[in-house]
């Protein structure tokens, strides 16, 4: 196949897309939905990994104390924590600190609404020397008398992963089904093109065109169907990612979102390549069945 022949093949492929308008539309739409879902899952996974990375490198453990721990025992607790191996720093956040922080943020009404009772426990923020020590340190602290609960990044990460595992396995099957649908629709579109161009194909054979020369236009048409679908998916993703990211930022501020500029170019490239690949698979299936060269 010479590059020069593309001058004819590519316009021919576009012409075919027009000729089989509705079929092309159906194939492109299915392709777009499939790839859009792939994109959404891609973004979700990228962000979970990003969040996991951020949370995991967090070296702080929040240690909540039981209400019974007061006075001397409280002071002793701080000493015990400071004495543990691997502890870099211990900061006390008392019930009163916590309350005034919340009041500052949400106003006096909160205090009144709670009936004048401070529900927050005393708390220590323990910083470890390295992220690797967090696990051991946290479980050790959890066994100390008077400790109500410990909270640290990795725990959150584990919960996050458990959640995404479920989403991922459901999503994978949905995507596989949609991808099969997209491939079938591309195949049907290509079949129409083969039928519309059967005279031309016959003539090509008569004058000695190679089999690959005959196949190429159909494969390119399939790839175009896939790429158009991908472009639609990418455009939708670009428009919605900024909005969703802003929303998540304001709704759950602690969840770190990866920046759009870092995520989308790579994802867009993968989606377009993926779309082209699915399209090619569809047309190849169709050619095997309907184009005897």
């Amino acid at each position: 196949m010479k590059l020069e022949s593309m001058r004819y093949i590519v316009p021919d492929a576009f012409h075919s897309l027009q000729r089989n308008g509705w079929m092309s539309f159906a194939a492109i739409t299915t392709m777009a939905i499939t790839l859009l879902l792939c994109g959404v899952f891609g973004i979700l996974l990228i962000n979970v990994n990003y969040a996991a990375g951020t949370l995991e490198s967090d070296v702080e453990i929040a240690v909540f104390l039981e209400d019974t721990v007061t006075g001397e025992v409280l002071t002793q607790m701080e000493t015990t924590l400071k004495g543990l191996p691997g502890v870099l720093e211990v900061n006390a956040i008392t019930k009163d600190d916590a309350m005034s922080f919340m009041v500052e943020r949400y106003g006096e009404t909160l205090f009144t609404a709670l009936g004048g009772v401070n529900p927050f426990p005393d708390c220590y923020s323990v910083k470890a020397e390295t992220p690797e020590q967090i696990d051991g340190l946290a479980s050790k602290i959890a066994t100390l008398p008077g400790v109500l609960k410990v909270n640290y990044g990795k725990e959150t990460v584990d919960k996050l992963f458990a959640f995404t595992d479920v989403v991922r396995s459901i999503g994978l099957w949905v995507m596989v089904l949609l991808a099969v649908g997209a491939v079938v629709l591309v195949g049907m579109t290509i079949r129409l093109t083969v039928y519309a161009r059967r005279k031309e194909v016959q003539l090509m054979k008569y004058v000695g065109a190679t089999d690959w020369f005959i196949r190429w236009p159909f494969i390119i048409e399939g790839a175009l169907l896939g790429m158009f679908g991908a472009i639609i998916a990418v455009v939708v993703l670009i428009f919605s990612y900024g909005k969703v990211s802003d929303y998540i930022d304001s709704a759950i501020g602690f969840f770190p979102m990866a920046a759009m500029s870092g995520v989308l170019p790579m994802l867009a490239l993968y989606l377009i390549l993926g779309g082209a690949l699915l399209g090619i698979v569809g047309s190849v299936f169709s050619l095997i069945r309907f184009l005897k060269v």
Binding site: K2, K199, L203, V207, A209, T210
Partner: protein, 227 residues
Amino acid sequence: MIIQMVNVDRIYKKQNVTALKGINLAIDKGEFVFLTGASGAGKSTMIRLLFREELATSGQVIVAGRSLSRLSAKETVIFRRNVGMVFQDSRLLEDKTVEENVAFAMRVIERPKKEIDKKVPEILERVGLRDRMKHFPHQLSGGEKQRVAVARAIINDPIILFADEPTGNLDPDTSEELMELLREINDSGTTIIMATHDRNLVDTMQKRVLVLEKGRLISDRIGGWSL
């Protein structure tokens, strides 16, 4: 010798039809050969075997020294580039102009654009359709369409030109004009094998005539219609 058929049978097993039986013949380079006989005598089958659209059930079809049944896919492509074919229905692409239809034959075997741009007008001049270049097939007469088909068949300089009833849809005058064109092409060295049942044409041309009857070759001689 450019074409040789040795003990060729062609049996359509599904339909249980013997289309050709025990064909032996030799054709030299530069010959003009008519293939005649009633409908269903095996003319088209013979053309299809020589064009390698079908393979012989038994026996050998040898063209330019190569047995057609032994050609690989790649060699078949090369073979097709060296032979031309004209059908009764001209088989032009309706959505392409005369010029594009002829260029098509060069384009799909990937000849350089420069060569195509040079050769297409030349060949259309030769078949007398230079002024019809930008017309579409539906704007042409039957005779003109066949001339375009001939132009397309010879643009890659084939050594053999096959024609299956090329005058079948034409009136006598137009047929004669087309024959004149084929004669010219033959005079320039191209071997021509033409299937026809037009008695007048065969008589006028006084060329070699093969007569088929029920799949057998019953006559092979130079001159007019000899049934």
